[in-house]
Amino acid sequence: MAAERRTFPILAPGLPRAVIGAAIGAAIGAAGAIGLNGEAGQILGLGYLFALVGFLLGIGAFRFWLTWAIGREVDVHEEHAAHGTAGDWRRYFRFTTDHKVIGVQYLVTAFVLFLVAGTAAMFMRVELAQPGLLTDKDTYNTFMSTHGAMMITVALVSIIGGLGNYLVPIMIGTRDMAFPKANALSYWMLPLPVLLVAINPLLGGFDSGWTAYPPLSQQANLGQQAYLMAFVTVGASSILSAANFLVTVFRMRAPGMSLMRMPIFVWALTVTATLALVATSVVAAAFTMLLFDRLLGTSFFRPSRGGDAILFQHLFWFYSHPAVYIMAVPGLGAILEIVPVFARKPLFAYPLAVLSFIMIGVLSFMVWAHHMFVSGMAEFFHIPIMLTTELISVPTGVVFLTALGTIWMGRLHFKTPMLWVFGFLWAFVIGGITGVYLADVPTDIVLSDTFFVVAHFHYTIVGGTIFGLFAGTYYWFPKITGRMYDERLGKIHFWWFTIAFNATFLPMFWLGIEGMRRRVADYPPEFGPVNLFVSFAAFNIALSVAVFVYNMVRSWRRGEKAAANPWNAQGLEWQVSSPPPIENFGDIPTVTDTPYQYGSPHLPAPVSGPPAPAPGAAGLRPKP
């Protein structure tokens, strides 16, 4: 069988076959819908569904399960081959089951998506640079919605999918995720929906914003439908990967790695995965009902036929508020993981930090209606939701206590990751405090749907996720690539990005208070100068990101070789080589404590088993 495949490489599982599969699937689906006299929307819907299946079949996502389903034994060699071999770059373009490969796939995909969505933001800033219109309003709305939808995806998958996949199994001392094939499947479910969102302008664009409120989203054109379908697919992928994370964390920890010895980053991702698992199917249901309204003539959200438009908002936010913590908590975890290393002190109040992550997760299910204070929802929601929303500041505040407590009296090394930690704390406290303004009904009446909200969520998402992502990417870059990044370029990136970011989004608070609405292509002339300044600053963000991309690409190819533990850190991931061997560990180590035992030099590292390698050359210890 394998021999046959070799003669027709195009038929072997892989990207070429996936593309062909997607094309065939799209053709079958579309033909079927046309045969059934479908409208354009139904043709697109069925075509997409079959294309997705064709793509996954083509990439080989189902081959093992299918073999199993027809009652055969799976070829063990093929299963091993799917795991990939070290040093083979082609495994990144295949259905590879190694969690490290999948992590890199996620990470790179997320950064590419970030660049695309950021470029859309640049178009928006061009339009908004001056009052008066350059393009028409629909084009603006399409850019705005596409930017939002893609960036949300970036924020949802980058840290947990990228860094999480790569690091969690190593950090808890195991060889892979619990379900490696499901893991690869959740990655390969992403390319097609992402592509679909990217090409939505060809389908007429979508102008409802990422929130897609009906009835507007019921009138809008095919691009809108593309977005809804894509979102449901991404949701399914994230449910799958969340379940995988939870099983891995709860069942596969190394001996001695009790829950309260887990790295805080793993804790953060555990909470995140729980949120994703529980909340995502609610939004999937809401979007499916919306799709049915559009395609099958149901009337869930059609007021003219007894439906309820506010119901959609409740269901949407019941997911999308927890979703903002799905974005932020991994970032919080990442920076808390990094702080002790560069402050050379144990993580301050570790148990309290764990508890507060859990509390954030619990509370985040009770606050969704704060996005609906002016929506006309039932009046009795306002006061309790205001209370729960403001209460969430308390566990979130604990993160600041922990970070500041760790930094205080430490011996701070301002390597690039640590700079991003400081930037993170500054940005996130501003985002958080302005969130409290929005949580307060009297002020939210003024601020809802203005640029104040836009500023708030860029401070929280960029501050919470993107700063965390950069911090983590620099910090773990040596582990993942086996090479050091360029410290000088990293610092340039940090300062340029941080200054430009603040210059872009701080003025937006003022714009919002003064009355500039969000989601408009044009505004009164008095806001002109400030917007021009904002646009100028926004372009600087893009330039600084270019520095980052250059640094990453160049260092990956010819950076200085990294030692196993360049930061002299204590986590398990630093006790293996850089990059880690394909099975992560020779012998699974035994863990004796949290990885935050700094300042107790007489104690050995909190791990036994394979001996910790000598302190690295490029890191904190002086070069020999």
Binding site: L246, M252, S281, M289
Partner: protein
């Protein structure tokens, strides 16, 4: 032998080679998946209750709910199929492959009749998907459930086929148990559906 031992489990649960561990991983995974499905149906039920509360009368004037006879029969069928499924699990624990096959066959049969009756009902109801929120919620909820029944049936059929081929034994029966969890869940959803859509 070793390839056998890993076969059933490694395909379901991956990274770990130890079959006992793999089994527990798999079952935890199934439970988590069911949790997320519970939320899915929860959202659909919330939608149902909200539009129903919005509506001046239920069912809206001019529409009627289906008769209770067939859905009642369906309830009996599905509940008994849960029982037969569980008896199948009990048989495999005792390593009694013949009984296992028999019970799984019974489950398949009951489930298939359920789907048939459901299909008949869909075809003969006096209202359609497009009949306002009543039709929307009725068909979306029962349709989602029906799709789950179908998936469950296919899964059970696959497992039964593997059992027939002698790939399932008292030591390796994770798939049977996973199928039973899923099937009980589908059954439970139906009980909710039956009470809210048809009776209350």
């Amino acid at each position: 032998m070793t390839s056998h031992a890993s076969g059933d489990h490694a395909i379901l649960a991956g990274a770990t080679e130890d079959p006992v561990e793999a089994r527990r991983n798999m079952l935890l995974g199934v439970k988590l998946g069911i949790l997320s499905e519970v939320m899915l149906f929860g959202a659909l039920f919330v939608a149902y209750f909200v539009v129903r509360a919005d509506s001046p009368s239920w069912p809206p004037t001019g529409l009627e709910r289906p008769e209770l006879l067939l859905p009642g029969l369906n309830t009996i069928l599905l509940v008994s199929s849960s029982v037969t499924m569980q008896l199948g699990v009990a048989s495999v624990m005792r390593n009694d492959r013949r009984r296992l096959l028999r019970w799984m066959g019974a489950t398949l049969l009951l489930g298939t009749i359920f789907v048939g009756i459901q299909g008949y009902e869909f075809a003969t109801n006096g209202f359609g998907l497009k009949d306002g929120v009543f039709g929307s919620t009725f068909y979306t909820l029962t349709g989602f459930h029906g799709a789950h029944v179908l998936v469950g049936l296919i899964f059970i059929a696959i497992v039964a086929n593997r059992a027939r081929r002698g790939l399932i034994s008292a030591e390796r029966h994770t798939a049977v148990e996973a199928a039973s969890y899923y099937w009980h869940f589908v059954d439970g959803v139906w009980l909710f559906l039956f009470t809210t859509l048809y009776v209350l």
